[in-house]
Amino acid sequence: MSMEETDILVVGSGVAGSLVAWRLAGQGRKVTILEAGPRLDRSDLVERYRQLVDKDDYMAPYPGEPHAPEAGDGSDYIVENGPDRYGTQYIRGVGGTTWHWAAASWRLLPVDFRLKSAHGVGRDWPIGYEDIEPWYQRAELAMGVAGPDPKAEDLGSPRSAPYPQKALPLSYMDRQFAERLNGNGFQVVTEPVARNYDIYDDRPPCCGNNNCMPICPIGAQYAAEVHVAKAEEAGARLIENAVAHEVLVDAGSRRVAGVRYKTPDGQSHAIAAKIVVLAANGIETPKLMLLSASERLPGGLANSSGMVGRNLMDHPAIAVSFLWDRPVFPGRGPQEMTSVVNFRDGGFRATQAAKKLHLGNVADYRGVTEALLAAGRRGPELDRGIRDRVARKVAISSFHEQLPDPANRIRPSTGHRDAIGIPRPEVSYSIGSYVRDSAAHTRQAYDRIAALLGGTEVTHGEGFTGSSHIMGTCIMGADAKDSVVDGEGRSHDHPNLYIAGSSVFSSAACVNPTLTIAALALRLADTIGRQAG
């Protein structure tokens, strides 16, 4: 077979793939990135947002392409088999899903790596917090994370150096929230965020557009397009609109040999590689691996354990809204600035999920106005009502830790294909009592918080929503019999196949996964760099 050849082939250009490509291209390696979707333009996305009917649909500015459909509320791309709805979102385009995120950049707690040992549930990671800490620091530098002074606020994750940027000042609302809750049964801390306090890495400081999701209009918030560009400047080649559909395995060994991909016209192409890094997210990566089944590998690529696609996790969320007893002006500043963290760990984790609660800093203009119009308010009375209620209506949401369960899984659909003939992902998913029991306690906590803030019209959301934190489907472990990759992110089965992204997480913890994705990706790149060099 005559085909183009590269040293390192990275599938996916989100935060994991772009950081791996950046580091290795910077070391002089010949790096090629395959991205299923197109390049995206920030100003186009902002304009699309402003033209949206539903401005709360964070996927709507990202319409997707027929050859790379996206997951989201208005999409049937993911086939949901239940019993519960997984309900995830992701962007298939250059830069991936960091185009829309809240920039929350949490480290895991040391105990999160030892969940089984500490609490008797779930799994332990094959690495500890101390193994990853130096790469947490490097990831924070790369992304420009702004966080609190560790001497002033202890976030529970030991640090070898301060955050690269000072924490942005809390909004008036977030400050009131922290002052009212701290000391009253809750611990509210400043959330570390990949959002600029000042000019950093040639990106501007945040000026409070309050549009972190679905698109930061000015690029003050980190997005992986930053490291795609840096990787290309360092010599990496990006092939956009290239949908990987098979990983090739060498005929005479267990080494992977390259990747086949399709272009929008449905034509198949192949590229050979000495090393393959799969970084296409927690659904697309295992789907690709399972699609790569062959006579030699009937269970799919790297799947001697049978764990590829299994242990699908998320952070199931429940929400509450209420009217604070005074105007606090949500919507001034970034969309998320504080979190309640005193439920991140404790003895309860033996039976109930850990969780993080976070206050949203978003003004509900439309919800308030539509309700007042429906109630017949008119003229000055309507305007007074809008001002009063929008200035007081607040919402809190939550992430609950889910345990790895092999029954929760993603598979290539046997009955549903996309426009270029590639099977769509099919998800079987159950939330389970570990999360449900914790969520019952979360509702009680919401009521206590509302009471502390003089809240009225307390409205609990109906059921769970997904948080789009796709984890566990290429789970990391020390034992090749029940895990897919080792502690370095390398396949147990194929010595030159690596997996980057949250699909390798052994535990979900209860914080946003992006910083851990970035740290693991940089660590993986250094591992490859040492071995390849």
Partner: protein
């Protein structure tokens, strides 16, 4: 409304006693000649752009409505099947004394579907079409943002100098919840 115009709104004018809005935006504060001016008969029974804006001013209480938004809204309301209802609404409101809010409200209630659609268009920027979908007619100039322009930046537009959000908005007194 442009950002410059939004920023140019006199913040102090919004707060005249607790949470009261600046009177300048509302009927009571309209220039006397305009506020007192009755709606003229529709020429040929056609609700043109000027008549639509005049009707909208009477129903919303805002006399600084954006003409471009008005054009888009009038077209969308017509497409949504409210053309006849709007003409009838205009006729009913025209019979009410310009400063008689109760009479204007009663007139609007008589053409409830058209009145509600018109107000939703101006405030939220959306018009419900016959197929059940919403059509966007505006964002930057809709009234739900305008009435909060001194308090909360409209999403996606820069809110001010970095870190401005650390302080509450610059109001004489923090707005208070209406009592009673």
């Amino acid at each position: 409304m442009t950002e410059a115009a939004r920023a140019g709104i006199d913040r102090r004018a919004f707060v005249t006693g607790g949470f009261a809005l600046g009177a300048a935006l509302f009927l009571g504060g309209l220039p006397a000649a305009r506020a007192a001016m009755p709606l003229p008969p529709l020429p040929g029974g056609v609700l043109d752009g000027a008549a639509f804006l005049a009707l909208s001013t009477r129903l919303t209480g805002h006399d600084d409505l954006d003409e471009d938004l008005g054009r888009s809204l009038r077209a969308a309301l017509t497409d949504a099947g409210h053309g006849t209802g709007l003409v009838a609404l205009y006729g009913a409101v025209a019979k009410a004394a310009p400063d008689d809010e109760a009479a204007i409200a009663a007139a609007a209630a008589g053409q409830d579907a058209a009145a509600r659609a018109l107000l939703r268009g101006w405030y939220v920027g959306l018009v419900r079409m016959p197929d059940g979908s919403d059509r966007l007619v505006g964002y930057e100039d809709v009234l739900m943002g305008a009435v909060l322009a001194d308090v909360i930046p409209l999403r996606s537009f820069c809110g001010g100098d970095p870190h401005f959000w650390a302080e509450p908005p610059d109001l004489d007194d923090l707005p208070l919840r209406p009592r009673g």
